[in-house]
Symmetry: C3
Subunit: 325 residues, 3 copies
Amino acid sequence: MKNINRSIFFPIKKKLSIESINELLADIILSNTINKNFEINNISSLSNIRNNSIIFIDKEIKIEEHNDKLIHIITSNIKNKIYYKSITVVDNLNTAYNTILNNMFYHEDQIGYQDDFNFINGSYISKFSDIDKSCFIGKNCVISRGVKIGSNSIVKNNVVIKNSLIGKNVVICDNTSIGTSGFGFDFKIRGSKHFNPQIGIVIIDDNVHIGSSCTVDRGKIDDTFIGKNSMIDNMVHIAHNVRIGKNACIAAQTGIAGSVIIGDNVTIGGQVGFAGHIKIGENVVIAARSGVTKNINDNSVVAGFPAVDIKVWKKNLIKQRKNGY
Amino acid sequence: MKNINRSIFFPIKKKLSIESINELLADIILSNTINKNFEINNISSLSNIRNNSIIFIDKEIKIEEHNDKLIHIITSNIKNKIYYKSITVVDNLNTAYNTILNNMFYHEDQIGYQDDFNFINGSYISKFSDIDKSCFIGKNCVISRGVKIGSNSIVKNNVVIKNSLIGKNVVICDNTSIGTSGFGFDFKIRGSKHFNPQIGIVIIDDNVHIGSSCTVDRGKIDDTFIGKNSMIDNMVHIAHNVRIGKNACIAAQTGIAGSVIIGDNVTIGGQVGFAGHIKIGENVVIAARSGVTKNINDNSVVAGFPAVDIKVWKKNLIKQRKNGY
Amino acid sequence: MKNINRSIFFPIKKKLSIESINELLADIILSNTINKNFEINNISSLSNIRNNSIIFIDKEIKIEEHNDKLIHIITSNIKNKIYYKSITVVDNLNTAYNTILNNMFYHEDQIGYQDDFNFINGSYISKFSDIDKSCFIGKNCVISRGVKIGSNSIVKNNVVIKNSLIGKNVVICDNTSIGTSGFGFDFKIRGSKHFNPQIGIVIIDDNVHIGSSCTVDRGKIDDTFIGKNSMIDNMVHIAHNVRIGKNACIAAQTGIAGSVIIGDNVTIGGQVGFAGHIKIGENVVIAARSGVTKNINDNSVVAGFPAVDIKVWKKNLIKQRKNGY
């Protein structure tokens, strides 16, 4: 969503000057090398560097792209700062992230977020959404600000869609929630007051089918993505920043933790779980009830928990049974 | 649902002549032995042969019942055709199924499906539904065309019920979805455009209790069935064509894949998973978190994944622990 | 909820005299030592003895607290009755519980339960609820009789809240159900007619964040409790009588069975399951996909099913792999 204007989804609360950022973070700034002054109105991530933005860095990692109007707020744990420019070093990166985002953006985990709805045919449709006239929308839905839905898509009943761009011929079944906040919080200081503002979106490409009672969380800063022609069964949970390629088939009650990247043409059984931040190749088949904890190469077929090659898994089962199981 | 008229749930779009079927499938018909002419207005399955219907056959299997006004559309993989009469052989059975059903029936995964609702006491109740006056219906529910609900049943809030026949004294808790489309699609050509139309129903017998946020999918051609006095906890997923006997007790977050047959008096723990198309006997007990992959005999007690006799499972655990686990 | 008046959530249907109780249970009373007469208008549990109440005892257990206006209805399996006073012995304790509660209380699994709603800004808000003016309530919500919500809390869309006391700064995401009936029923005589009335509540302390499509069941007699600052991801199921301490972090699709007690500062991965009636200590970490079947000591880190110390679990995995897995 590099070029997507966040303000179609929620208005920017306040653009911040470098000076005002320094004031907001005064209690936690340890050092500061910024001597320019420009307006900050956006947040970057490692994969999407934006103009006039801040990027928050929690471990030493090279940033490929730079930008004159980008500041780096980094944790004091990073000793080697060669990769970063215009650096503010802070004591607590989570607090810095939360403070700045809560000041800069409206978001729905904070009182004050506003939308304005028309009540059309039994559902609440934001005045700031853009739904193709050919779509069918059922009853008791909520479609919020900024949502776009392409032609001939079907949204069944009691569906909530927020912060999302939905393609053509997409079907979303009853009681599903798309684009709500992911599970982002401060491990050390818990509670809703320290919730990490989630400001990304969900992008669902053409011809995707999503079952009933699914949850697809919005990206934290960028987007959660479901590729063209993907088929998703009931009660599947797709966390923030997950990216799923084309033609995925994902059976019921599977859960995909945050930032998992899944290639094209995967087939995933029911009740599978994925650890966060792993990468699944193309054409991968994952047996039902697998627990996937590591990257999986293209064309693999895996099973078990932790998931391994399915032949190894089966061989082990046979061995266990010989030995009395 | 042999004798249930589909058109109480959704109007038939178009009755097809043999001739029009041949036209629709022209691109994929390989051979054709049909020389009669009669009107086709229904679809049969192996367990329910109907008049004036088509049955789609994807593997060599004997059909017990025949009917003068039944045509068999079979995949070209079937070499031995002795079991079938009035045969059309097609290249791609999924495409044949989808083409014919999309032309013959309205269904809710295709634009054009219509219903007409009254708004009664906070819920949308189809003008073509039949709810006993003694029932209690909460707020924000959607009860669609053709749904019948017997006396003294309770439907709590934000519940969606479609394509279903519900008995007496049934309780359905908040945010549950009954009768939406199952996970039927073409493995080879994925995407919502190739979704297999689901035209069956859900039958829930008397005195069933269903928890919150469950999903019970309609049958593909026939019905998904939940027997009398069954007790189903929260977040249970019951896929298309599943048949559950009387007095089932199914704990939370269990998932039952398509076409599983479950006998009377089963007790199923939480977070259990069932592979599709298996048969579970009567009086079976399945421990929590089991993954059931094969048929289970009457009166068995099983545990583990793949589920085995619980004594074997426990013995193996003890052995593993002796060896350091 | 010792001092909480049940009638703020649902009116008492009928106060019962000892005499009327004897009549109601006439068919199942085996013996009776009660020779006082006082009015019964409440139900007690082992942890909450109330005035003018009944306690149902299903196994020999010492009752610490007594009360002059308390009667014990006990199962005939209990031979040693030294711990109990004012005893009625019954043949079938479940039937006794159901009969008395169905006569004494209104509850939502029985026809006749009433509430009265205002329709405010797209949601149904009970006239008998008490929501702080600073709260944000989304669309298509149902907030029932007796519910209190503290300042600055956010209830997103299509959320159902019943029988609950919610603190300040609480966030509840889309399609979540709080306070509906738990899975309480008679194992031997199944079906909705024999459902055990659930009359407890849910208490959610300040700063709790609950994700989308969660279910938090009301207590059976007392309360289900979620402690301050707890963070709960999507599709988490929390059964009746569960008590979770402060600062819990619980990832998606985890299920916690009835009456589990969880200490402060726990971290629980996704897709974890808990057997009922176990006790988890403080500062416990439970790896994703664990199945917890026994009490866990403070400061433990566990994994696997059945969950064991994570070091043991990892050692075993390495051993299995050496041996070909």
